[in-house]
Symmetry: C2
Subunit: 81 residues, 2 copies
């Protein structure tokens, strides 16, 4: 079962990469955009059924992948599943 873990800086946590992108886009002449934030996405293929895969991924996030003090995460399945 393939899944994605989307890891974003929590609201209120400074996101320098997002700010850098905003500045560069402005300099390139882009307008009408706001609130750019950059996070990480991790694709994992887990050999388990959906419920189990969610549990395993949750544990992976808490033990290794996510810094829960400054980051939020979300487990996303591919559309077709």
């Amino acid at each position: 079962m393939k899944l994605n873990v989307k890891i974003m800086p929590k609201n209120g946590v400074l996101d320098p990469q997002g700010k850098a992108i905003e500045n560069s886009l402005s300099q390139l002449g882009f307008k009408n955009f706001s609130e750019i934030r950059q996070g990480k996405i991790i694709e994992i293929d887990i050999d388990a059924d959906k419920d189990q895969a969610i549990n395993i991924t949750d544990e992976m996030c808490k033990k290794l992948l996510v810094n829960l003090i400054i980051e939020d995460y979300e487990i996303i399945f591919d559309r077709e599943e």
Copy 2:
């Protein structure tokens, strides 16, 4: 209109971050997983309708956000939209 740009290393391009995560997960005792790849996700809020937002984001990706030689990207709308 809020959208996400998911940027992943192309298939065949070395993904050292993904490999590092695989190694760390193994050392923590996780099994049954494979093919871990890490990419970036960028959230953007664009003041335009859906078609326009896709066009603008495409241009942002090509001009700044994505290195098309080694990365693939995908524009993803939030579920509710």
